[in-house]
Amino acid sequence: MALLEIRNLHVNVEGAEILKGLDLTIEPGKVHAIMGPNGGGKSTLAKALVGDEAYEITEGEVLFNGQDLLEMDPEERAREGVFLGFQYPVEIPGVSNTYFLKAAVNAMRKHRGEGEIDAMEFLELVKERAKRVKLDETLLQRPVNEGFSGGEKKRNEIFHMSVLEPQLGILDETDSGLDIDALRTVSEGVNAMRAEDRSFLVITHYQRLLDYIVPDVVHVLMDGRIVKTGGKELAKELESKGYEGIDEAAA
């Protein structure tokens, strides 16, 4: 069974149709990349998958592990194993990164019928995962994303993902604003999580992230639909030829 199956998805934002019948299937263990020009609907797809109410589903269905994802509240989707690394991570004043993650981890454990995580075990986990994405340890005690630099925020998203261990990690333009060092670190964080039962949907405007997170499948999303699907070489092709040619080919 596919991990994620999107069929004929239509999504409106403020009355305008952004996704116009999108189909996408992701098998367990695979990394899919979605590329495409700005305004094509990449971020809309990401937000719709995690249940942002500003994104209105007008048609279509999404199955996650065979279950109707669109019926679930955002927190249920998270507990079932869907994670979104935000393009613009939100600052949460007054809520420490560590306490927040502990509440999140325990919410997930509760959902699975497990007891609360042991405090020491949790601290060790957090430290180990922070090291993996080279997240400065002082950021663990600070309020979530508050006063973090752009790169620190993106690292923090990957750090959250590595602690929460989702089945599907959706990364929305995680590469934007990252220098080459940070890009490498973040990518290593993602690659370390690749596993047979875990998939990724990497949304990016540029090909360079895909040099580090090498995808199994590349899709081109334009004007609300997937217009082309190929292997990792498609990304290279897009890099050299741009999207114009694709547009014509698809038309």
Binding site: V50, G51, D52, E53, D73, P74, E75, R77, A78, R79, F83, L84, F86, P89, V90, E91, I92, P93, G94, V95, S96, Y99, F100, L101, K102, A103, A104, N106, A107, M108, H111, E116, P143, H160, L164
Partner: protein
């Protein structure tokens, strides 16, 4: 032409006919109180400082002095332990409850005494301090208190005495005080170089539709540390209209922790006077309202001399259809150069029909000062709520988490750990946060 005869107020009639007068040495103050009240009367609808406070439930009927002591139910007595280890002085319906109080092993240099214990022989210091600060010509409820109070608490800390254990003065109102008035009174004096923590708390039966008018006068001598917490947690039917006077002498550090979450109508006039150079008054407050509660904090901070610091940080969390007022004055007197005054009022409106008023006022008569103020009324950040939910936190949990974080900035400033822990529990209960993990955020 006949001269119109000024009708007597019901309170003057009560005063003239009362038999329950308390110790004789209070007579002079009682007289002054009723005269001030009679001259002033209740605030008119057009008085600016009272415009937003709907006093009709207070003025529409007469609340005679609660003339006997009701029996506090077990649930209220249990709450006396909420604040942890402390010296304890308890008044029930305005009268000393010796059996609920515990003043054993008072530290050296510390006096904690109910007025009623002095009989005919009060210390001169107390007589001088009582009523010295509260302005009864200006605040009619302080005048009523001064006319009718029969007991109160006197806390005195001798020069240089460091008192670590907090002193908790609790005013309990029972159902028997329904439709009656209770007049709590507190005098705190910290002499030069002393350090002390005082908690004043109001709790009561939900059936008690009483009028509670407390007057608290606190004075911090030179180079003292005086920490005052005031927890207004009355029963839901009670009206609490009080005044607090804080006065700081040279190099004194006076800290206030204010919590307002009880009563149907609550108003506090907080007057802070910086009277000696190098003094500071730092007040942090949180109010938490629900249903149709009305809570009003009026502050009057007076920088009378130079080189003083004051800070007011008040936050409101409004649920249901409640209404709140924060109206804060910073007044810098002529010559009070190098004043540093900060005022901040932030309100989080959770109830769709709740209403928060926020009104900062600055009056500055010196030219070399730093005065900042900020005031906001807002809702929870939708983006933040969504972000938390995408990490598996429930909608209620996310709301609780953000609200606790909002409150946390104030609660963290409370220096008495028993107060801090108590307020955290109150917040978690009121916000319906059951998850201990989320509570840990505070």
């Amino acid at each position: 032409m006949e001269a119109a005869v000024q009708p007597k107020s019901v309170y003057l009639e009560e005063f003239e006919g009362r038999t329950d007068v308390g110790p004789e040495w209070l007579d002079t103050l009682h007289e002054r109180g009723i005269r001030a009240f009679e001259a002033r009367g209740f605030p008119g609808a057009r008085e600016e400082a009272w415009r937003k406070t709907n006093l009709r439930p207070v003025t529409a009927e007469h609340f005679p002095l609660a003339d006997s002591q009701g029996v506090a139910p077990k649930e209220l007595i249990e709450r006396l332990g909420d604040l942890g280890d402390s010296y304890r002085l308890v008044f029930v319906d305005g009268r000393l409850a010796a059996d609920l109080s515990d003043l054993t092993d008072l530290a050296k240099g510390l006096t904690v005494t109910p007025f009623s214990e002095y009989d005919g022989n009060p210390p001169e210091r107390l007589v001088a301090a009582l009523g010295a600060r509260a302005d009864i010509d200006w605040q009619p409820f302080a005048a009523l208190n001064s006319a009718f109070f029969v007991d109160g608490a006197y806390i005195h800390v001798a020069r240089g005495a460091m008192i670590e254990k907090p002193i908790a003065v609790t005013h309990v109102v029972t159902a028997e005080a329904d439709r009656r008035a209770v007049y709590p009174r507190l005098v705190v004096e910290a002499e030069d170089g002393a350090e002390v923590r005082v908690v004043e708390r109001f709790i009561g039966d939900d059936q008690a539709g009483a009028l509670v008018c407390p007057v608290s006068e606190l004075s911090a001598g030179r180079n003292t540390i005086l920490d005052y917490s005031r927890l207004q947690e009355d029963g839901v039917a009670t009206m609490n209209i009080g005044t607090v006077n804080l006065a700081a002498q040279r190099d004194a550090s006076l800290r206030g922790a204010f919590v307002g979450d009880g009563g149907r109508l609550a108003r506090l006039d907080l007057v802070a006077d910086l009277e000696g150079e190098g003094g500071e008054i730092d007040c942090n407050g949180i109010y938490l309202t629900e249903g149709r509660q009305f809570t009003d904090f009026h502050t009057w901070f007076n920088h009378r001399v130079e080189n003083c610091f004051s800070r007011q940080r008040f936050k409101g969390i409004l649920q249901g259809r409640s209404e709140t007022v924060f109206d804060g004055l910073v007044k810098v007197f002529e010559g009070a150069q190098k004043t540093d005054a900060v005022q901040e009022n932030r309100n989080l409106v959770l109830g769709k029909r709740a209403l928060a008023h926020s009104n900062p006022r600055l009056e500055i008569f010196a030219d070399d000062v730093k005065c900042t103020h900020g005031s906001t009324v807002g809702e929870l950040d939708e983006e933040a709520l969504f972000y938390l939910r995408t990490r598996g936190i429930s909608a209620e949990g996310a709301q609780g988490m953000l609200t606790l974080a909002f409150a946390g900035e104030i609660v963290d400033m409370f220096r008495v750990s028993g107060v801090r822990d108590h307020v955290r529990r109150v917040l978690m209960r009121r916000l319906g946060v059951e998850d201990a993990d989320i509570g840990e955020i505070l």
